[in-house]
Symmetry: C2
Subunit: 525 residues, 2 copies
């Protein structure tokens, strides 16, 4: 029997058009559990229940929603072992430290941060203009569909990750579409979420889970009138189809699609600490077998001996390091294909490439090289994302050419610049950063891009096509919540009818509100 879907607060048989199974990437064996491919009838039922839950949630207090998130976070912490076991089987990611000790606490803490923001209302930008009698804040938008990615089964999971936390904390129910590579892990999370909903008395349809639909039904789902918005993290191709469907219906969709995350290393940085930079790069590039959204897939260097030495050391280390396991057969196939594509455009294969390992989803650590001249002749081609343990090094003849390469880049999540700690690169830095900053959501100095701190100042976002809108972040609370909100002005609305956030009295005593132009936690005087 295939697994049941979670619709309207009940685990029930799917109205299915077929089934699928995940693969254990460490053994390349199909896992036994079967999961249903839902028909439109399941989507429709989930939408109907979500629409009802959205109405019911508008009658809840912020405290009630926050209590649900906190209860769920506690249950996740308590289920650490079973969650890590399931995710290990489905993703090949190490149980420890990665899953149990890094990603899991990040996930539960993210839910707690979202709960805190929900409770305080700091995300809602409460604005009060006493002279005109107008008050405004962000409010829930309606049911949010979340399509989680393959690479963070916990922290970006459809019913556990950042989009989920943000959508719920902003007051919306979530319809999770599990990533097909880790359905059992997602199912376990949904069980915990349902238990938390029951325990805290919020509508049980606050979270629903389906595992897979046809592409057509996915497009219909994100465009449905009952949907408020969608969060999608995954491949560019599938994401753009969902975007087209949502856009045509006037529905918001927040996408995280692809990014090669350029890393520029200037000569003074190499002169000062080349060996350390090799270490930092190797660690960042191969961490999680390179399967991070912010993996440094493109290294930009200026032609000189130190750059050659850097390349040669990285090549040696790539070759001498066992390849990690990739998340799924599809990831391995796609990585191999991207490497071949880059070679087809003329990139030189320095190390790696070749065939997928038999008996495991893995490809040798791969380093490619191209000249800036080659890159500039085909910038689109050389920006082919090779998701996994592969990076492309591009060597420019001079600073102007380096800046041209940067100017030819598409939008990216991140851009890093390493420069001489003693200032010899400062003019080059200015030129590089001036070109790079408009292309990226986050610019880093002297640091690799793979760490994505959950910070109020984090932007895990960036210009298209890294995401669909350059003004929003998927990570970082409270900012990530406003993606799933509508702005509402209350004009001359009688005092007793205002939402708590906009009443004269500060609802918590500590909620930041912009009153007559100044942020304050005071009551309206």
């Amino acid at each position: 029997m295939p697994a049941k879907v979670l619709i309207a607060g009940t685990w029930r048989d799917a109205d299915s058009t077929g089934t699928f199974q995940a693969t254990n990437p460490n053994t390349a064996e199909t896992l036994p559990a079967e999961f249903p491919i839902s028909s439109w009838a399941d989507c429709d039922a989930a939408l109907a229940a979500a629409a009802e839950a959205a109405v019911a949630m508008r009658r809840l207090s912020a405290d009630q929603i926050a209590a649900f998130l906190e209860c769920y976070a506690d249950k996740i912490d308590a289920a650490k072992d079973s969650l890590s076991e399931a995710a290990f089987a489905e993703t090949g990611l190490a149980k420890s430290p990665r899953l149990a000790d890094v990603e899991l606490p990040r996930t539960s803490n993210q839910l707690r941060s979202a709960a805190a923001s929900c409770r305080s209302g700091d995300w809602a930008h409460a604005t009060i203009d006493t002279a005109t009698g107008i008050r405004s804040c962000y409010e829930p938008l309606g049911p949010v569909c979340v399509f989680g990615p393959n690479n963070f089964p916990f922290a970006f999971g459809s019913v556990s990750g950042g989009d989920f936390a943000a959508a719920i904390a902003a007051g919306n129910p979530v319809i999770g579409k599990a990533n097909s590579s880790h359905p059992e892990t997602t199912r376990l999370f949904a069980e915990l979420a349902l238990a938390a909903a029951e325990e805290t008395g919020v509508p049980t349809s606050i979270v629903q889970l389906i595992y897979r639909t046809s592409h057509a039904d996915g497009e219909r789902l994100v465009a449905d009138p009952r949907v408020g918005a969608t969060g999608y993290t995954g491949s560019r191709n599938a994401g753009l189809k969902l975007k087209a469907a949502a856009d045509a219906a006037g529905k918001q969709i927040y996408l995280e699609l692809s990014s090669v995350n350029p890393v520029v290393i200037l000569p003074g940085a190499l002169a000062a600490r080349k060996d350390e930079l090799v270490d930092e790069f190797i660690t960042s590039a191969l961490m999680g077998t390179g399967q991070f959204c912010t993996n440094p897939g493109l290294v930009l260097l200026l032609a000189d001996d130190a750059s050659e030495a850097f390349i040669s050391q990285v090549k040696e280390r790539f070759g001498g390091t066992a390849a990690g396991t990739l998340l799924s057969p599809a990831v391995a196939t796609s990585l191999k294909s991207s490497v071949e594509t880059l070679c087809g455009f003329g990139a030189e294969l320095l190390v790696g490439g070749g065939e997928i390992e038999s008996g495991r989803c893995a490809l040798a650590n791969t380093l490619l090289r191209a000249s800036a001249e080659q890159f500039l002749a085909n910038p689109e081609g050389f920006q082919t994302e090779a998701f996994g343990n592969a990076s492309l090094v591009v060597v420019a003849d001079n600073l102007d050419q380096l800046c041209q390469v940067i100017a030819s880049l598409e939008g990216n999540l991140t851009g890093c610049v390493y420069s001489d700690p003693n200032g010899s690169d400062d003019d080059s830095y200015d030129a590089v950063a001036f070109e790079l900053t408009p292309k990226v959501g986050r610019i880093l100095n002297d640091k690799m891009p793979t760490g994505v701190a959950v910070s109020a100042a984090m932007n895990h976002g960036g210009p298209y096509p890294s995401t669909g809108h350059p003004g929003f972040t998927a990570v970082g609370i409270p900012a990530s919540l406003i993606r799933f909100a509508k702005l509402t002005s209350y004009d001359n609305v009688r005092p007793g009818r205002l939402p708590a956030l906009l009443a004269d009295k500060n609802p918590t005593g500590s909620t930041p509100r912009r009153i007559d132009g100044s942020w304050t936690t005071d009551d309206v005087s």
Copy 2:
């Protein structure tokens, strides 16, 4: 000779595919000035110049950009007579008070507010997290195309209005596409803007002006890689075509499309002050010949004698009031057609309708009536926007039915609820507001929707299809600026390289910044 276009800081002959002339709606006569329809070559040249200006603007200080806006505002005030004269000829709107004494000062003050926000940086949500070393703020996005509407030749003008002010204050150059019904007015504004640019030393391509393009070139323009975003206010049909083009290219487009602005009048309000409500409604509905985005086009009443009396008094007053002039022959034709469409769906024509006046763009003040039952049988049809001096009254049998009508509404900019000042309607209010609030960008009590204050708490926006994104406002500073910005995080960026807004020292001494979770104007300690 047709008028020249403003491209790359120079008034030059258009590369035109034809010409057009505006009409004086008060006389139905074609105005003498000819304006070019630009080819793609003009668009391309404007885009190239705007891209250069965007780069140059990134090197300007906030003070320099603010000084340009303020200088321009002063020039607008000084040119009050010529601007009002031109706009009167092209739009039929009264020179005084409307154009010279209401819309013009609103326009220049809006530019000054935008300048103040630019100078202070309060729009940029500077966020500093000292624990992680990450800092973020909104930054300019790139050239902004502005397609202004026909109904506010100053305050929403392509090169003078709210979108222009917001785009420039956020640090972006503007390519204005004049509304074809008032090209000469727009040309005069562009002259003043160019003079202000020259006087204050900002790039002269900060503002460029073309008058009209083919539909295909318009779609190509908003999708061009050099564009940052587009602001469009106008008809739903044209707007959705631009949206499709921009969406497919991953470009932001902020749309204001259509809205019927439901006004619910509950029995206790009619009992308390029916005659005043008739006055308020008439004023709001016929102001500017009903050609406001927030015109009350749909009145929802409960069946009783007072509602009948209200309708009958409004009918009498509509019939007894001379129809104002409409903005253009197209508006008159469209209004007549919408009235006929509504009648075709079964609405009863209480007064008005008929033929367009000869010798003037005008249609009699029109009041239509339908039952809630009729409305619910065809909600899409009965929400046909009749832009101009026409309103539809819908009478519901009971509160439940009234709420069903509200639940069937599309997204609107505004929703008003009038209720008994003494509380007899309070339960009904709760039911109505619960349905209405999610449908609108601004909810009002005891007040008509036509005033749109420039307030930090204003939301001139709303759910689709009133706009394209429910999280943004087109009016209200500083919030309107972030539409034209990207979020950028600075992660571990060395202190001397941070933008002024994110430096340890507060750049103005009074810029609000969120430091470690608290809004403050202090320096980082």
